[in-house]
Every structure is written in C-alpha cells, then in structure tokens.
Symmetry: C2
Subunit: 217 residues, 2 copies
C-alpha cells in the first residue's frame, strides 16, 4: 500500500494514494485511528504534503464519503438489475446490495455514516434512498407491498438493512462465526416476503387471532 512513486519529489498521484491508504487504515482500525503523520509516511511523503490535497482531516473524510456513496449507488443498481424481474426480488436485491457494500467496504461505510456528523458535504446520500423508495413503490403497484403511506415502509426497509450493516461492522451481533453474506439475503428476503404478506393480509382482518402469550420471566 505504498503506491506509484514517480520521482523523488513529486509523488505522481498523492491524492489517490492518500485516499487508498486512509480507507485501508479505517477499514482495519476505525476512523479515529487515522493519523495524518503516519498516513504521510505510508505514502512516502513528508508530514505537510497531505494538506496540499486536503485542507483538513475532515476534507479527506468528505472525499471518502462521497466516493462511498457513489459506489453504493452503483452496487445497488447493479444488483437490482441482475435480479429476477419481479418487484419483491428487486427490493430484496437492493437490500442485499446495501449490506454487501457495507461489509465489503467497511472503510467507506464507516466514514459515510460516522456519528459525529461532518455537515452535509455529501449530496449523493439521498440517491440510494430514492432507489429504495422507487422499489417499494413498484412493490405497491404490483400488489406485493401494503397500500397506503410509503414512508413507514421505506423507513423500515432502510432501517433494517442499515441496522444490520451497522451492527455487523461494529461487531455488536451476538452471533459470532456468522458471515454477512449469509445474513443479508435472509433479512432482505424476509423483508420482501413480509411486505407481500401484509399486502395480502392487512392487520384489520386478523385482529382476533392474538392469543395469550406464554409465561414470562
């Protein structure tokens, strides 16, 4: 990870190298572990050099986030268009793509949704959201999502995939020895099936069927 050093003085493509090394470090050790001095050394350059490409640390993060949102959108579109030609499958494909992206590009994802927000430098964010929105709209049109307000549906779907990705990346899942490539399809498919089931069987129809629950505590 000490890319193309063209001459002794001018680096060649320092900007790209800084991004790549940063992403690798963040992927392995988290955002807070990124150190500009060490970053410069790894890129084979002096401590002040990075500041000619990124005014502050935050600017570096913003660039990584922007790149990440682009990749995410591409991945979602790719998987959606490769899925079987029904609305439920396409929705599930978007979900799979979201989680797959997050786990395959932890470095990007961590920066994209880091809690201590940067400010809204990133504009690509809503596009992934819109893909989901459209997919669920398609589900409604096909009768495989509940009719009515879209917002709760979209929010639930997005929250589910985002939560799964986040929990996995943060190592918060109590299931050890379980890979996300296995989990993501399960959750995504379940979500698709649940939308369809609720569309065919709205809650008012089975109000009576909830029996007393079993013992607790």
């Amino acid at each position: 990870m000490r890319l193309k050093k063209k001459s002794g003085y001018h680096h060649g493509d320092l900007r790209r190298t800084l991004l790549d090394v940063s992403i690798a470090v963040i992927d392995k050790h988290g955002v807070e572990a990124l150190n500009l001095r060490e970053l410069a050394i790894r890129a084979g350059v002096s401590s002040g050099a990075p500041y000619h490409h990124f005014a502050q640390r935050e600017a570096l993060f913003a660039a990584i986030a922007e790149e990440g949102f682009g990749y995410l959108e591409e991945a979602m579109i790719r998987e959606r268009d490769a899925a079987p030609d029904d609305a439920t499958s396409r929705l599930a494909a978007l979900g799979r793509a979201y989680v797959s992206f997050a786990t395959a590009h932890r470095g990007h994802f961590r920066v994209m949704f880091r809690g201590d927000l940067i400010g809204e430098l990133v504009q690509a964010k809503p596009r992934a959201f819109q893909l989901l929105w459209e997919a669920i709209e398609d589900c409604q049109r096909s009768g495989v999502a509940p009719a009515g307000d879209l917002q709760p549906l979209v929010l639930t779907a997005w929250s589910a995939v985002h939560g799964l990705a986040t929990l996995w990346i943060d190592g918060a899942l109590p299931y050890k020895n379980l890979n996300p490539e296995h989990l993501a399809p399960k959750v995504s498919n379940l979500l698709g099936h649940m939308f369809a089931a609720l569309a065919h069987n709205p809650p008012s129809r089975r109000r009576s069927s909830s029996r007393r629950r079993a013992v607790r505590k």
Copy 2:
C-alpha cells in the same frame, strides 16, 4: 452542569460529575469532541484529576456504555410490561422503547455502539437482545410470527430498530422536521403486523401473485 463542589480540594462526587458532563458533551457534539482537559475544567478540577477515576479515556467510555445498557434494558422492560397483553403489542413496545431510549439518551447510545469498538468490556449488551428474542418467541407461540428459525426474525427486528435509531441520531434521514417519537411507533407496529401477516400467509402460498412491475428509470 458543574455539580456539587463540596470543599475547595476534594470534589465530593467527581466520578459522577465527570460522567454527567461527558454524556452532555457527547450528546451535543459527539464522542470525538470530548476533551479531558476541558472536561476537568468544567468539573472545576485540575487536568490530572479525572485520571484518578478513569485510567484512560476509554475507561470513561466503558462506564458510560455500561450505564447505558442498564438504562436500555430497564426502559425496554418497563414499556413491555406496560403494553397490552398480547405478543404483538409487546414486541412493538420493545421496539418503541429501543428507539426512544436512543433518541432520549443520545450521549449514552453513541458511546454504546460507537464504531471503533472498545473491546468487550460491556456485558449487559446481550440482555436487551435477549428481551427481543423472548418476545419474538412469544409471538411464535401465539401464532403471530412465522414458524421456523428465530434468528432471521430477531435479526430483522433488531436491525430495524437499531437502524432507525442510528439513522436518526446521525441525522441521515432525508425527512427533516419529523420527530422519532412519531417514527418509532410506526416502524415498530409495522414490524409486528408484518410478522403476524407472514405467520398467517407464508410465502409459498402466494408465489404466483407477483405481477410485472411498472416502468423503471
């Protein structure tokens, strides 16, 4: 936020004060903004004093996280036991409690699930998870959750509420002017209804009903 200063020298309850000030700062400005020197000043104490209560910054975070997981569990139990006496309502109550806790205690929540993991100092984490697990098990017994493997159901439910909380706290939701007290019940209820619907209408029964979707792009 400069609590009980008993004498000039000994503080009185510096440990508690440090925790409270930290939580307030993290709530407002994020984890990275917490500065031990400024923290000491705000607590009315010299820069070295905090280290007699927390060996390192991480130890402070660990204490906050531990406290947070305790509060979370309490809140979930409280809301569950106050809910109507059917499995679906109780599951929804747990979800509401999770999101409500996160938004009402941003400081705690941010530390509890901060990406750059601390190490597994915190043992309370699995308990909130277990509450969810048991609630969904109850739903299965009452016939208001799909039969079969629990894991995808639990994972989906947890991911949904965790994702919603996370997206909200990080300010990533494209809906501005919308409060989580409104969102959380919607998503939680939807989840409960979807579990019930899928239990009554498993996917195999309506394989044929997904029609062609509408135009795209």
